[in-house]
């Protein structure tokens, strides 16, 4: 008897009891449905998070100045400027794991065009910032190192700012923008970047040279970096090395004795990305375990029905044995029935899960990630459930004594 005939026989036996077969396999259908839908949703959410963090630039390390203490009240991080321009230069020149360094000097300011005004964030920085943030220019150019040197009144503006001041269609490069009433020339328009991981509109920003920011936007503190320093490590693997180099350089420069606290703090965005990712993973894992429990319950349902079926068909088993079925034939017959039930359930679940995941990803606006491996895994797993829970009833059937079985009432 070849495998094809065994399968055909199993399918026919199951079709004799359509409703029962369907109800039996429902547990598997629901389990696989859950696996497919949840994994697709989880993967989609993960991809969404990754995409968001990738838009912020990769391998970013940030140094913030330390806290100030006034009369026992701790100021927030960055409340005391401790980072100097010399520190920045040292980081740029001495830290081998760092690829690019740029200051971020942040200020809210009112900006005006000929006929519109808007309040936005004005950031003083150096040209490296665009490399660090992996931010391309849509039209025009970024400002240059010599613009920084001479304190040129040039600005690179984000899409949102451009839309508010000049409308969505106008050519913005070459326009004059007044920042705190100081006229600047728009030299570049940044590509649209969308929301940051924290939900801020990244396109609602203006970048100007750091020297101009210090002289025209917010004076004072000439020696210190009035903000933070953003850097990018040479690679993701180099982030820990970059962090320790930053600490070594800054502690040395700030004469911090061993055992004393840093007067600055170092953070990296990968940690944040990892934190978000790991919470997604926990979520996905939780749903996967629910799905596993559901498959387990489905498997027990199959075993239950197969045991009932073996009992019901005891005489049939006896007859098959009498006309020459070997034990393995009977074993195969019932095992294949369990397998057909579970795999059919798995396939129905995959199709259902696929459509559910698609509907959900459409409504959440996530990318739809439907992996072939997940499908194979789900179908394989349901097949395994069929074997594991089918083997016991099948063995029971194959070990029946033909005489007893034939006499069974």
């Amino acid at each position: 008897m070849n495998p094809f005939e065994t399968i055909r026989m199993a399918v026919r036996a199951l079709l004799r009891n359509k409703l029962r077969s369907f109800l039996t396999t429902l547990g598997i259908i629901i389990g696989v449905f859950a696996v497919i839908a949840m994994v697709a949703i989880g993967e989609g959410a993960k991809a969404q998070v990754e995409q968001t963090f990738a838009s912020m630039g990769s391998n970013i390390v940030i140094v913030m100045p330390g806290t100030s203490t006034q009369g026992g009240a701790m100021g927030g991080m960055g409340s005391l400027p401790t980072l100097t321009w010399e520190d920045l230069r040292a980081l740029r020149n001495e830290a081998s794991a760092i690829k690019a360094v740029a200051p971020i000097l942040r200020s809210a300011a009112q900006v005006q065009s000929e006929d519109q005004n808007w309040t936005t964030t004005v950031i003083g920085s150096s040209p490296e910032i665009f490399e660090i943030r992996a931010w391309k220019i849509e039209s025009g150019a970024i400002f240059t190192a010599s613009d920084v040197d001479i304190g040129a009144k040039v600005a690179v503006i984000g899409r949102t700012v451009a839309d508010k001041l000049y409308g969505t269609t106008a050519e913005v490069v070459g326009q004059t923008i007044r920042i705190k009433n100081v006229p600047f020339t728009v030299v570049g328009l940044l590509e649209k970047k969308g929301q940051s991981a924290m939900g801020q509109d990244q396109d609602d920003q203006i970048f100007i040279p750091q020297s101009t920011w210090q002289s025209k936007i917010q004076g004072g503190l000439q020696k210190f970096v009035n903000g933070m320093i953003m850097m990018t490590a040479v690679s993701q693997e180099a982030i820990p090395r970059a962090e320790s180099q930053i600490k070594d350089i800054l502690r040395d420069r700030h004469h911090i004795e061993p055992g004393m606290d840093d007067d600055f703090s170092v953070r990296n965005l990968s940690d944040m990305a990892n934190a978000v990712e790991s919470s997604t993973r926990v979520f996905t894992g939780l749903l996967a375990s629910i799905a596993a429990v559901s498959l387990l319950v489905g498997g027990i349902g199959i075993m239950n029905i197969m045991l009932v079926s073996v009992t019901e068909r005891t005489r049939e088993i006896g007859l098959r044995m009498a006309v020459g079925a070997r034990r393995r034939h009977i074993l195969a017959q019932f095992l294949v029935e369990a397998l057909v039930l579970s795999i059919a359930g798995g396939l129905v679940g995959v199709v259902g899960g696929f459509y559910a995941a698609r509907a959900l990803s459409e409504s959440f606006g996530w990318p739809m990630l439907f992996r072939t491996e997940t499908v194979l895994l789900a179908v394989g797993f349901s097949g395994a459930v069929g074997i594991v829970f089918g083997i016991f009833p099948a063995r029971k059937a194959s070990r029946l004594d033909p005489i007893t079985a034939l006499r069974y009432e």
Binding site: V323, R326, R327
Partner: protein, 253 residues
């Protein structure tokens, strides 16, 4: 004697004991028996006489506790279950009192069953099954399910199933027990025809009427052969059709 072919069946000192709770039931207490090819034997005896146990041993469904059983010269007393299954498939055919057809399965598919386990290919299987159904006169109902057939027709399907593997021996356990007298005679006529074609038949029955159709009657009592006589079989002539006869259910196919 040594030159002639071995007898189809030879039993020597066959004993079978069943444990029944604390007591042991001596179903067979030393049976010696020889049945040659082409014989039509009826085994009679009351319930508990051991006739069913003997039938099971002859049918290779059970093994004796002691003694020997040679089937076509081969000692099958100690074979493993799967080896016995192979012998049943190749050498034996079974007919049961309750037909034992698979429900919701067409007649021809029921007949195909032994060939399925004998590894016969699909087309050949169907051809031989249709032939077997023709032999029992049911070719026209090959696609009917058992519940669309009368008792006599169901038993004829079962006989076709027993025949399809081209067995040397057909064992029938009370084949007419669930049939009316007219169908019973029809079935016995069929058996006599099969016997005439050279198939050996062993029939277990407790009805003397049925035993009359056999050429040899073995009477069992208390696990031993009490009587073994040959007789001129009564020819089974199907009764004329009567008005109150059981018609086959009409089927729209």
């Amino acid at each position: 004697m040594a030159e002639t072919a071995p007898p189809l069946i030879r039993l020597e000192g066959v004993r079978k004991v069943y444990p029944m709770g604390d007591v042991e039931v001596q179903a067979l207490r030393g049976v010696d028996l020889r049945i040659d090819e082409g014989e039509f034997v009826a085994i009679m005896g009351s319930s508990g006489s051991g006739k069913s146990t003997l039938m099971h041993i002859l049918g290779c469904l059970d093994r004796p506790n002691s003694g020997h059983f040679w089937l076509r010269g081969r000692d099958v007393s100690d074979l493993e279950p799967d080896a016995l299954a192979e012998i049943r498939n190749e050498t034996l055919g079974f007919v049961f009192q309750s037909f034992n057809l698979l429900p919701r399965t067409s007649a021809v598919e029921n007949v195909e069953l032994p060939l399925l386990y004998g590894g016969v290919g699909g087309r050949e299987r169907r051809k031989r099954s249709v032939e077997a159904l023709e032999r029992v006169g049911l070719a026209s109902r090959m696609h009917h399910h058992p519940n669309q057939l009368s008792g006599g027709q169901q038993q004829r399907v079962a006989i076709a199933r027993a025949l399809v593997g081209r067995p040397r021996l057909i064992l029938a356990d009370e084949p007419t027990g669930n049939l009316d007298s007219r169908s019973s005679v029809e079935i016995m006529a069929l058996f006599q025809a099969l016997g005439a074609s050279g198939i050996t038949l062993v029939l277990v029955t407790h009805e003397p009427d049925i035993a009359q159709y056999a050429a040899r009657v073995i009477v069992m009592r208390d696990g031993r052969v009490r009587e073994d006589r040959r007789q001129v079989p009564r020819p089974a002539v199907p009764l004329p059709v009567e008005a109150d006869d059981e018609p086959a259910p009409e089927v729209v196919s």
